[in-house]
Subunit: 476 residues, 2 copies
Amino acid sequence: MADKKLVEAITSMEEDFAQWYTDVVKKAELIDYTSVKGCMVIKPAGYAIWELIQQQLDAMFKATGVQNAYLPMFIPESLLQKEKDHVEGFAPEVAWVTHGGLAPLQERLCVRPTSETLFCDYYKNVIQSYRDLPQLLNQWCSVVRWEKETRPFLRSREFLWQEGHTAHATAEDAEERTILMLNVYADFLENVLAIPVVKGRKTDKEKFAGAVATYTVEALMHDGKALQSGTSHNFGDGFAQAFGIQYTDKDNKLKHVHQTSWGMTTRLIGAVIMVHGDNSGLVLPPKVAPTQVVIIPIQQKKEGVLDKAFEMKDMLSNFRVKVDDTDKSPGWKFSEQEMRGIPLRVEVGPKDIEAGKCVICRRDTREKIEVSFDELEAKVAETLDKMQVEMLERARAHREEHTYVAKDMDELRSIFAEKTGFVKAMWCEDQACEDQIKEELSVTSRCMPFEQETLSETCVCCGKPAKKMVYWGKAY
Amino acid sequence: MADKKLVEAITSMEEDFAQWYTDVVKKAELIDYTSVKGCMVIKPAGYAIWELIQQQLDAMFKATGVQNAYLPMFIPESLLQKEKDHVEGFAPEVAWVTHGGLAPLQERLCVRPTSETLFCDYYKNVIQSYRDLPQLLNQWCSVVRWEKETRPFLRSREFLWQEGHTAHATAEDAEERTILMLNVYADFLENVLAIPVVKGRKTDKEKFAGAVATYTVEALMHDGKALQSGTSHNFGDGFAQAFGIQYTDKDNKLKHVHQTSWGMTTRLIGAVIMVHGDNSGLVLPPKVAPTQVVIIPIQQKKEGVLDKAFEMKDMLSNFRVKVDDTDKSPGWKFSEQEMRGIPLRVEVGPKDIEAGKCVICRRDTREKIEVSFDELEAKVAETLDKMQVEMLERARAHREEHTYVAKDMDELRSIFAEKTGFVKAMWCEDQACEDQIKEELSVTSRCMPFEQETLSETCVCCGKPAKKMVYWGKAY
């Protein structure tokens, strides 16, 4: 009873999912609000997740030949304006620096909302010959977009991300890289964050400002809403034309390069919360859990208990492990472990020590496993692996249960009236139909998945012959 | 001959040290200029050094209990103004955001030049009780200072750094942390970057805006100029008073916290260049060399040569190693290895293979060592370790040779007229003397070193009784 009072309750997700999300973000100490509207503090517990995301994603990038670099955070207005579609897409939501020190600037500078224009300006300088290609660069930085509505991790005026920018000799090379990086994202989401994705192409209406084609990995949150979790863009030679990025090919002819860009952001942390969390708080996949195992001593003042706990910590040195030896009660410590989403809790008290064993408790299923000390390390390794795999399976099953099919507008209307999830529907590729669905049902086309199906022969909206299957959903 | 032409010469450091520096920075492909005045591109070869600095310094921070976090890049003007000395120090050199999207902001925001004010605003929220102390946070980010004169790595309008900010219960705890982090910096500079430092305290004139005490690690560059390489500040409770950061102590009384901050920047890369570089280019200490060993095959088209080179690469998998199998000549490859400062080059050709050996060549001394294949790994490890140690020793010897003593103004004048280096001199602690020396000789007090000496009984300037020994120098 006393323990229950100690840990303040969070709103249940069934009652109010948005409030549940906000409560978890605050109570798990991931985020704090600041005096700067729309900008957050990412607290140590949140930033440690981002560090694990960075390390693993960065290694995957480097394995494909990508190198990191750093470009300035400021873009002169004239540079931003060089590519017409791009500036139209971003100008309405950038922050402008007009004064440096005590003097007004001759030309105002925007704080980068994304860095295509800066990379183009750089590539123009460093690319001369086919020998200089491909250029495969990435940077980890923060960007600014002056959003009106903001939510922790999901949408903020400043956020952290990585942005990859590549330049290639041919259109084929650029397309290959665009798809390669989309596959890296899908691999990362599924095998590190335990989040299943639908891979596909955005419609022209939803593609990135200045892109020929935008590819996306779409994930379904626990409440049935979709989250665009990473995008990879093929720019063709549009930016190269606008910026004059040319190279001399082997045949001695001047040609324009073909470019790509691809990005993932701190919204991934939001995705982890909304896919895996439950009414006790955060549930972290072991691969991105800053603490994977917390050892909680029971009756820790009894002789030998704390010594044993620290001995067990040493036995588990292959994992990110800590002992909670604070003077809080075990019940409070259990609740805290659950709120923070630590994958495994190991309980050990005087009776366990006498019997030569302890108890492992999984955060996701709450399954308890009795383990003898000599098999502790092996069992922790096995359980973390199993949990990582089963979290993905559970999320996939949830997505399948919340994926529907609509063959005409009546079906589409009734599904979105009653349910929240992905809806698959056929499309004639006419933007008028896409516009109509978006306006009437307040949903957006998520993507044209690579795994196409023929649900019917006709467009869900106009009844004319269908060309593509599209995923629809309400999105964050 | 042909090889010599292939590699463009760099200006010699004896002829023009500033031009030598700029040439190395460009030719070693560390930096590129941009359309944004005073902002640079850190190219992959430069950024990879920064990544190694980050990894090793971050691990040292974490070993002292520090955690990473991320605070916004924008500071509302009213927040910046809360601490009087601090705003006076920074307001003249900040960039101001006045528009967000299409609308003017109600309150303008400065792009952080440093984040004391934001951390104070945050600590005010999260600190209530003595149980919440200490707070030991750090962030890796970029900051902006609107400098008029800029130089790659040494001074730019935007630069990358880490800034640690801590809050403590007592003045003693804060002072202890300030010195602890200064010692971490000194350890890092000496044992990772192979740069010897003088540790000491800044005079009141040179201390950080808002600090009670600023401590510094000062290094001497090859040209005899000083570089402030890291600073650690004790703020006392000044910021806590201005921001109202209070906690309830064990005795149930409300008290103000005591704070510190400490930072190191990408100027460390400039220090590495200027301490270790030579007329063939960069010389990187093994611990921060992105490539530690380059294997250069001789007559690589002969059967078995490339196979052997890659076999050797596999033997050296404990190091950061690559094979240069491009179609450039060996001479070109040697020059490139030297320009980029790769610590070891391993040469292997058909005759070596026949004899079961290869040649290791050290970048710093150019010493060549014949090594049989079976001792290759051990010899590479040994040589890298030795090089790391000897680079520090050489830099220390250079600093000793360029450290002078002045007992009166005539001596001080004549030393600075003829030489560039550190000059040790006694001081009465009166700022008038410090001002006079600075104005007359265009040098600044670097620090009052922890290792004090009594060079004479009187102030170098006024002849009154001396209280402190001070290091003076021309600084970057």
